[in-house]
């Protein structure tokens, strides 16, 4: 065993905090390698398993939260041969003693995995109903959204990133009038060249979305049975539901309070080790070698590597190029954003087949792509030309 990895005895369980995709996938992968190691998972919610990306396109399919949850906590306990503490929060970690405090009780661990997820960012809104703006980050939020949409007709979505655009497409599809409010000229501003974003905007508008580009929501006020959303350009929207989707913020507080190094996320090395011995982090809460990647595919790769490490074979995480499929059926998009530190430029060609945008460095090496419409069929071929994100 190389230095820096667990060499103690396994009397105490491996503890995973978090039962989202990162926590449960790590547990599932671990069980493929070690069927018996004591394992405890701690969940702030009810511990049901569901596939989170479905939250942004489940409404039009009329999926209830119960239908999205494919396994309940009892099924997960059996499947994983694990103890799962539901509705339980960890308040502190005493790394020197390998002990955490959960709901007032001390729990000793051999190795600890932080799979805490991320919180939705909140826009700084004024008004007497600013606190009634919804964000959908888990199954309970989705249930609240469904309830709020009941009987409504008009929706304001703040933010035209991935989640905002996916919700806009989904809700337009079932007849809502959707207002999209975004500070940028075109949607998916951080992922796509503007030409492709403009096409997505046109497609969503054709599907019924009203676009408020280059503007911010300033205030949300209650009025009769609805909300009045005032924008920076003075426009006032009268809507039944306000949904915020302006991004995610890694959950770092627990780590920070426990003396674990944080930056944008909980800082880890290639082995997903935090600055504290025997404490690991992955998923939306983690910053792995400088990368914060709140997507499913990186979680899968990280969970597999971490499971091997936990099972006794230290294994660094490797990230291949990981294209993201945007769930906007009005205008299909797949994008592999170029790494932020690679200088280069987009070469964009548009045809009836869609937009084909390729990001090249000065040596004409491909580092990213964005494909729309029928051009999305080139996803696999182009992905194979991309260098790994973390070799």
């Amino acid at each position: 065993m190389p230095p820096g990895f667990f060499t103690g005895d396994d009397m105490h369980p491996i503890v995973i905090i978090g039962t989202g995709l990162a926590g449960y996938t790590t547990a599932r992968e671990l069980r493929k390698l070690d069927k018996d190691a004591p394992l405890t998972l701690i969940s702030a919610d009810d511990g049901r398993f569901y596939y989170k990306p479905m939250l942004s396109n489940a409404y039009a399919q009329n999926k209830t939260p119960e239908q999205l949850a494919t396994q309940d906590v009892a099924q997960m306990q059996t499947q994983l041969n694990a103890t799962i503490l539901a509705h339980a929060r960890v308040t502190s970690i005493d790394a020197a003693r390998h002990t955490l405090i959960c709901e007032g009780k001390a729990l000793e661990y051999s190795r600890l995995v932080l799979a805490l997820g991320a919180d939705p960012m909140r826009a700084p809104l004024q008004g007497d109903a600013a606190d009634q703006v919804l964000a959908v980050n888990d199954l309970a939020d989705y249930a609240r959204l469904r309830q709020a949409l009941e009987g409504g007709k008009n929706v304001a979505i703040i933010g035209a990133g991935l989640i905002g655009c996916e919700f806009a497409n989904d809700l337009c599809g079932v007849g809502f009038t959707v207002h999209v409010i975004d500070p940028n000229p075109a949607p998916l501003n951080q992922l796509l060249p503007e030409a492709a974003g403009a096409q997505l905007r046109a497609a969503l508008m054709k599907a019924g979305a009203r676009w408020h580009a280059n503007s911010n929501a300033v205030s949300v006020n209650r009025a009769h049975d609805a909300y009045l959303v005032t924008l920076s350009d003075g426009t006032v929207l009268d809507v039944d539901v306000v949904l915020s989707a302006i991004g995610l913020k890694p959950r770092v507080t627990l780590a920070q309070q426990s003396g674990i190094k944080i930056n944008r996320g909980i800082v880890t090395d290639r082995y997903l080790r935090t600055s504290t011995p025997d404490v690991y982090a992955l998923g939306d809460c983690a910053e792995v070698e400088g990368l914060v990647l709140p997507f499913v595919t990186p979680i899968m790769h990280a969970a597999r590597a971490l499971a091997k490490t936990l099972a006794g074979t230290p294994t660094p995480v490797v990230y291949p190029a990981m294209p993201v499929v945007v769930k906007t059926p009005a205008y299909p998009i797949v994008v592999s954003p170029p790494p932020a530190d690679v200088p280069g430029a987009w070469q964009v060609s548009e045809s009836e087949e869609g937009v084909r945008a390729l990001f090249y460095d000065a040596q004409q090496h491909l580092h990213g792509f964005a494909l729309t419409g029928k051009a999305t069929s080139e996803k696999l071929a182009l992905t194979q030309q991309l260098p790994p994100l973390l070799a």
């Binding site: 996938t25 599932r28 596939y51 479905m54 899968m300 790769h301 990981m322 499929v325 996803k379 696999l380």
Partner: protein, 58 residues
């Protein structure tokens, strides 16, 4: 021909259709797909799929 469903995200592999865009020809049986293949939607491993009987669409 059988169908296999990803336990993580619900993606369905239909042997009859294959996955031509990934170079898997229609009719390719599940056992002939490489073990290192991953779910095209979520990246879950082949081992995370289960066979499902799917009723014809209504």
């Amino acid at each position: 021909m059988k169908k296999w469903q990803c336990m993580v995200c619900g993606f369905i592999y239909d042997e009859a259709h294959g996955l031509p865009e990934e170079g898997i020809a229609p009719g390719t049986r599940w056992e002939d797909i490489p073990e290192n293949w991953a779910c095209p939607d979520c990246g879950a491993a082949k081992a995370d799929f289960e066979m499902v009987e799917i009723k014809a669409a209504v």
